[in-house]
Subunit: 366 residues, 4 copies
């Protein structure tokens, strides 16, 4: 693991370690996977504008999110079924995040339960990502358990009424191996076994359980159900960010679900500035999708994100080295971000403004 | 065939199945084949703008074309000599289209006759693509037979007074194998045998039969000949769309003949918006060329096409699995389009507006 | 040769046929050869705007240049030492051009003399490309011989006071093989043997004979020397075209010497529109550099060139098949151009206007 | 060495010659090395606008820098530890520069001392690049020694409070081989041995010695310490150039440290025009980063640089042939630049104006 010095190194190593069932599920994007690569490439189309000779001997890269501190502005996106990567799965991941002082978001369709994850890192900051099922009682009970387990916020994912077409999975199928199950649901229930179905109907079966009739009104429904802050995840347009605020969202996460839902939508970093402009400070804006280096974190913050999250990178970390691998990933992001702050003359996140970056190709305003 | 989950998969499979004579004829584009790839690439330069949390539990992806319903807005472009792909050729293709509730366009230079095709799918929607021969009586008789066989419209192809330079065919020649003939012409006639000539003169011989002196006045001539709606196929410029309307065209099909005629013309999806703007609702506008995924269908409709068509994709389907292969292709387009509608919050085609897409690179107006 | 259906096919064949000394000399461009490929690529960035349903049954692709007819608007650029490609060299080339009804430009540093070339095609249209040597008497005598041999115009090359840095030649050297010489100079003279010097000093030696002190005043000097029209070859900027006209040039040839002199200058087709605009009809404008297909000819004429020329393509033709190969190249250009005229609805060169093409990427004005 | 005719040839040769420790250190850039390639590519996005028929028989490519002459406007950037490339290291390099009549900049962390380098080329123009250590006395003594040894200017590097993340070095470590040391520091001192530490802590150890609290006030500190002109190296933004002038910098060097510090900053040639505009003649502006051909030198001067510098190219020269190799590199730059001057009609550097170049893609203003 010593020779792995950047996220990309971990990705390459994980590709060699993971079995095909898990690998195809983790790495795939929708359709032609154009947005999958664009999520990363788009960051590279933004240029950093470094200022020299500012005292950078004392830097502070911590920030606050929803009013509480994080050690650095990158957290862990919710990704399903982390025990496919490593036996310790979600528990290893949340421990890594907690030990690094950042936020872990647990997926609804996790292979460790809310309770297990809470127990693994009782003092870490944890949010719960919520899918809304046709069975609303079931959904409400998930929310209640999240409250009870000390999850601080609900991340309401709105971009996945159905799973996107990930061709490798359509071709070869996907099934949760028999020793794993969706741990947030009662053992033996259809929700729990959904993805353990035969390889070709797994996703369709799970799709059928989700509620496709969701509308913005359901944010009200959630609001009434709980006092937890609600972060709407999966926003790509200013219009939708506006609506989210009007329906009472506490925060908005710019995301295209890691390019797994719709191909040829905006790369998230390209979607960010318009949304930040529209939100105009009325709520916190987060982003995930394609964040691969500390420079990427820097750019997202310069463009107005309060914090960013990474999904797959943590899976690669888990696959390579369990909790320790996940922690190494977070350290890389932190150290790279810290160095970028130093080399750009930005001693703290408040100094990180729109002026710190520019789109390439607009050389007249370098 | 189960492992083939997108049009591209079928294309790759067909490349392995087809003999060289057929493959080169089917796949080639004009000259350097730059427009051939651009037809596809251009779709990818348009970005989808998905709206979240709209009730997509009940979707309606059907539409009407020339006043009558189709199950979904993708039909079959006219491509010549489909029996090169599969013994059932045009008959398999029209049955696939009919069973899926969409439109089949029969080429003039087909290897099954108007009558055979009509008999194969008596209840399916069928249009007839017309080439105008120097022998106008012959041409008129084709029109009359189309009427009699229940074809609903004439698709008047205007971009092919000569065949384009497809280098593979110039190099290796092309000949219709002896067991096939151009079935719309009397057995043994020069029209029927044209493409069965020796490999190097086949196209030149057929060219010589076509009427290169055609002008817009000939739309009048056609109009007088028949009551069938006339769709002018092969329009790339707003000026020509305007003229088509003035000469009484019922519809306009934006097409560059699958990039087989002239290289470095506009990709059809790039040509569409200007034409739609100029037509301004005075007639229906269709498009073919490079449509490869359900996303592409979505984009063309957002940019104003009433319906789109696919040419080669159906040939790949035929080659791989005859009627069933062709049907699978149509299902893929339909399912992908349906999912795109769901994931963009677009429950029916009327909600599909110009605002649903944007050109990449104009990030300020995401 | 039957399987060679486009210029690129001939190029590939010639690469296999030519010895390294000749091949490197012929194919090289200056420095990183970026302009070498850009000369071709730039044509592909221009889009053709085809008009439909115009009577194209009778087409006329001939035009006039300097007041006299050519069968089609592509001629032969001056390239040095054509006997490296084929024993018949310049004589084969000029016969091919004459038989096709177009113009041949003979290089000063040819391996066949003015007199030999004139004798090979007494009735063909021939121009003489002039390099000005420090020895002005020698230069004047070349002009006189050109007049006497029936060359119709002088093509005064202004972009080559020195040879550009073509790395392959710097690396491996170049020498005219012993059985060849620069045939326009007296046998045994230093001018005649210049390029036969040892492989490493050949170009330097020839450079030393040329006059680097040339200025626009020397167009006056030439003007006084001869009644022949003077075409200034090697113009890339409107300012220089303006000056050329002021100093009495009869025509201007937009050229970057086949990208052999300076790397990262404008591709000639990109340089053309600005020059045509500035010249505003005061003289004829020609172009060479990267013309590879009939479409390219079409685009250059649409952008205002009166005629275009091809250099290397004819060398590939010569290498593959001597006179017959060169003629085949000219036929390909002619036939491709003719077909482009037909498929764009342009029955003659007068219908070829600025409106027939557009730069890609300006979709709003398709 | 005769077959090596351009900088790229030397680079390729050096890659085969250097051991991995040295090669990785020399060639690496920060992170994904996007700016590393962009530094070069960006030059190719600028187009040269050549003027014809100007007397170029007598050219003068010399210029003055800080009021004194150089034979041509390319000098040697400071690069650390040149004895990794060749036993004669800095001494060979400075001799090459002196013999060619140009400037050599010595790095603080060199493997030959100020005194050795001064002795190697007593009459050559030499500048000293300064890193500021936490130990200010040590720093001051370096300045004093530079004065005493006849270095004409201080090049104050401001973009490297820490070393950038060069992945190859993080992966494999780097250590100065035991027979070498940082020769400007007392033998056995921690400064001297810093980079000879074990392979994984070498850079961190050196980082710890540098002063990260530097601000613009330290330019004043330097100014008080010495009468030598101070050139601030590592400027990428007009704002910083402005500040540099206000704090008394004698010159500004546009540089991104050879893309070794921060990835996805501006390519230096793209950063240049904005800085030149802001500086508006108040001080000389230099540039380094990606200069690979004489054309590149030409473009930088056209865009307002007074002189440019090359870093790695000289290391490749040293590796291939010691002093002679370094000199050959400088000759190539000079000869290429000289030829560009000739072929563009620019007989001296004063004729080299903003109008001599244009960004590609702005064809309307060719
Ligand atoms: C394997 C995988 C599973 C995912 N599962 C979920 C999920 O259960 N819920 C959710 O809201 N997002 C899910 N996502 C999306 C992530 O939350 C996140 O948006 C995405 O991974 C960010 O992009 P990145 O992987 O490029 O960092 C998943 C993503 C991946 C790759
Ligand atoms: C093999 C082949 C044969 C074709 N034959 C005809 C034809 O006979 N008549 C016609 O109007 N268009 C013909 N076309 C053009 C198609 O109608 C259609 O415009 C084109 O295939 C659409 O592009 P696509 O293949 O990318 O979907 C043909 C295209 C191909 C590929
Ligand atoms: C091998 C070779 C030799 C050339 N010799 C001459 C020459 O003697 N005089 C001249 O004016 N141009 C010369 N040129 C330039 C050509 O006239 C012409 O500008 C160029 O070849 C056009 O580009 P193309 O090769 O892409 O068609 C030469 C070009 C080549 C490739
Ligand atoms: C191996 C190496 C060592 C360097 N060491 C120093 C240094 O000690 N001080 C400094 O100011 N710049 C240093 N630089 C940066 C160079 O001065 C210069 O900015 C850069 O090499 C220019 O880019 P180029 O290599 O593309 O010409 C170094 C660069 C390289 C490649």
């Amino acid at each position: 693991m010593d020779k792995l010095v950047c996220v990309k190194d971990f990705e390459e190593a994980a590709f060699r370690i993971l079995d095909n069932n898990a690998l195809q599920y983790y790495k795939s994007g929708a359709d032609d996977e154009l947005t999958l690569s664009d999520n990363k490439d788009a960051f590279k189309r933004w240029m950093i504008r470094p200022r020299m000779l500012r005292d950078v001997s004392k830097r502070n890269i911590s920030t606050t999110v929803l009013g509480k501190p994080v050690a650095f502005p990158l957290g862990v996106s919710p990704t399903a079924m982390q025990r496919l990567a490593h036996p310790d799965g979600e528990c290893a991941n949340v421990r890594a995040a907690a030990s690094m002082g950042t936020i872990y978001i647990l997926s609804t369709i996790s292979t460790s339960s809310l309770e297990e994850v809470a127990a693994a890192a009782p003092n870490g900051r944890k949010w719960f990502q919520l899918y809304v099922y046709k069975d609303r009682d079931l959904t409400a009970s998930l929310v209640k358990r999240a409250e009870k387990c000390g999850f601080e916020a609900l991340v309401f994912t709105v971009d996945a009424p159905y799973f996107g077409r990930r061709r490798a999975n359509l071709r070869d199928g996907f099934a949760l191996p028999p020793h794993l199950r969706l741990a947030n649901f009662p053992k033996g229930s259809e929700n729990s076994e959904a993805l353990g179905k035969d390889r070709h109907s797994a996703f369709a079966f799970h799709d059928a359980l989700l509620d496709q009739a969701l509308t913005w009104e359901d944010v009200h429904w959630l609001r009434k159900l709980t006092k937890l802050p609600i972060i709407v995840k999966g926003i790509l347009l200013p219009e939708d960010a506006e609506t989210a605020i009007q329906y009472g969202a506490t925060g908005v996460m710019v995301s295209n679900h890691g390019a797994r839902q719709l191909d040829t939508v905006a790369a998230t970093i390209d979607a960010l500035p318009g949304i930040v402009e529209r939100v105009a400070g009325r709520c916190e804006v987060y982003l995930d999708g394609g964040v691969s280096t500390g420079n990427d974190v820097y750019k997202a913050l310069a463009l107005g994100a309060k914090m960013v999250f990474a999904g797959r990178a943590l899976l690669w970390g888990l696959a390579v080295g369990g909790e320790q691998g996940a922690r190494k990933i977070l350290q890389i992001y932190r150290d790279e971000f810290d160095l970028t702050m130093a080399l750009t003359g930005t001693p703290n996140v408040d100094s990180l403004t729109r002026d710190c970056v520019r789109k390439y190709g607009m050389t007249s305003h370098l």
